[in-house]
Symmetry: C2
Subunit: 112 residues, 2 copies
């Protein structure tokens, strides 16, 4: 079981901003998962990988794939109080789900 979180590389987020967006995405996708997936993932140490996605367009395509695969996922838009314009899409989390299912969606992205 794992969760993959893809953060955009094309909007110049600072380290702390990026970490906060990844955490938002992680929690929101986690809450969209069923209780069995939640439990299994936590029992295995809640494995997370943070990946790079290069554009809003790519991010939405991955979100659409996650939807088609029936995987828990969440797209995050920034409130825009700092650094970014309000509503900027920043991150996508996919899972927790089985590794091979998550990889179907995010397997081509590189590690952050």
């Amino acid at each position: 079981m794992k969760q993959a979180i893809a953060a955009r590389t094309d909007i110049g987020m600072g380290t702390g901003k990026l970490a906060a967006q990844v955490a938002h995405a992680s929690l929101k996708a986690y809450e969209n998962a069923g209780p069995d997936a939640q439990r299994e993932w936590k029992a295995g140490g809640q494995k997370k990988v943070v990946l790079k996605v290069k554009s809003e367009n790519d991010l939405f395509e991955l979100a659409e794939q996650a939807r088609r695969e029936g995987l828990p996922h969440a797209v995050i838009r920034d409130a825009g109080h700092t650094q970014l314009d309000p509503g900027t899409v920043t991150a996508l989390a996919v899972g927790p789900a089985r590794d091979n299912l998550v990889d179907r969606v995010t397997g081509d992205l590189s590690l952050f």
Copy 2:
């Protein structure tokens, strides 16, 4: 309502590593919070701030303060599969709780 997550600056975590540790801490402290705090925080957009802490020692002192204040919190140790030695303490999350209570613990740290 907010949650503050302090990540260590003295162990050379890369951006993706740091984001994953912050997300672990965030989720774990969230699960240690009561249902009212969880609900209220999410209704307000799950505000998160990511802060710098300069040593393991400082991190443990803040965790101890959070404990004394009765605030939900979580200390994260890395499994050490990559980059860090197994068991390295990486991050502390405090809250969700009222802003002024969180600030009692983490108010002196600077933004990441």
